[in-house]
Symmetry: C2
Subunit: 257 residues, 2 copies
Amino acid sequence: MPPPQDRNISASFAKGLAVLEAFDGDAARMTLAELARRTGQDRATARRGAMTLLAAGYLRQEGRDFVLTHKVLGLAGGFLQANQFGRLVQPVLNHHAGQMQTEITLAVRDNNRVMLLAQSTLVHGPVSYGFTAGSSLPLLHTSLGRMLLAAVEPDEAEQILRHSPCVRHTAQSLSHLPDILAEVDRARDTGLSITNGEFEPGITGFATLVGGPGAKALVVGSSAPEAGLSKTRSAQICASLQQCAADLRQAGVLSAI
Amino acid sequence: MPPPQDRNISASFAKGLAVLEAFDGDAARMTLAELARRTGQDRATARRGAMTLLAAGYLRQEGRDFVLTHKVLGLAGGFLQANQFGRLVQPVLNHHAGQMQTEITLAVRDNNRVMLLAQSTLVHGPVSYGFTAGSSLPLLHTSLGRMLLAAVEPDEAEQILRHSPCVRHTAQSLSHLPDILAEVDRARDTGLSITNGEFEPGITGFATLVGGPGAKALVVGSSAPEAGLSKTRSAQICASLQQCAADLRQAGVLSAI
DNA sequence: GACAAATGTGCGTATTGCGCACACAATATC
DNA sequence: GATATTGTGTGCGCAATACGCACATTTGTC
């Protein structure tokens, strides 16, 4: 017999949120049947959730497919505006990105994924990898992810790792948990995480900690093509990231989480 | 007697969404009592909505205040990723922002407000005005807003205007509806909207249409300080915006709405 | 045309959520 | 410190809401 429901929680609202969350970067458009499967809900329940979101403007319909609309950006805008990301965070990222001539990204851990919170806009840089604020990246094979794991206690980091999907993105992707843990430990010790082509082929990723307690840690990261990456250049990027982290702390970004 | 409810809509879910939407840039943090007032709901109803959002991770609690979390960015990320904003839109905005040496913004109309969808901000530019993707701007006194109104039929534009708040942001803000309508008509005729210090003092705004049917039109805009803005420079910005719009159409941005 | 997959909807059921009221807590003001 | 105001937590009766199932229909694919 299921426990009596928590009277503080609206189960219908929670089911509806699950329908909204089913739409992500991997599942951009879904039929009702797919939506029911993905949420584990009865088709009629999922349908009511989808029709409510349709009426509210968060979904639109293309034939049989439901498609997420830009209205979700308005929700995100509330958070970004409230925390003055445009005035405090973006200029710092842009400034350092300009100096380093690379993109810079601010990220946080979201369960066992990396969530990008903000990203510099760079005029003359290498080709964009297509990520934006709100993008979700893997935890295990990115420098951002490793740095976020380095921000939590070792045994908790191991727990998180054990419950995270370990997908080999490239031939270089580490696949043994002890190897990944060793890299996380190294990031914890040095304050820097560097990955070589483990998520995107031929791309070196860098990340350092901005601050914040374990589960709510913020990190900044950058990336550069491996080819033509000298030790001097690498050290320069690391130093700039650490300066960027200091400037972000100064700007008060840690109070946003 | 109220009409029987639409069986396709979950009223509890809709109420919950209204609680989530109550958190915006102007109301970053709210007590339960404030939330009930803002949503017009009974305090117990608003409380259940807030507690459900708390459990789902969209709100956190600071004393008596509920605060929006970054989790809403994940929802936005689904839309941005699905429409490849990072790969198709951002590079175009960045390219033209670099060439023009101004910020560029992509926007859509959201009821009687302007919603920013994407933006390229400049490394060495005038002080950032603090807006980001998801930010909401007024419709009546921005070049983006005027251009969005120009995209709909004149009588519909007038209806929207009549139902929009007419706040005087600066001494230069037009306040007579016929004057604003005339500016909208001019934007419709010329394909460009230019405003002088009506929303931010001393700032000239430019906007042009990217495309899309009336209610779903997309526009791009830019801004520059009025001081030191020559006719040549003005014309240059307008031409670049129009080229940017053409490149965005080419990149397929219109299918995102 | 056959088959699979998806959809719309009616309906019985009971659970869920609503809203009110009461008591208590926290904060603000004097 | 007292008082007033505002905010909060929660129990509870009630009825309406939402669930989930089943059936018929539609759409898509081969």
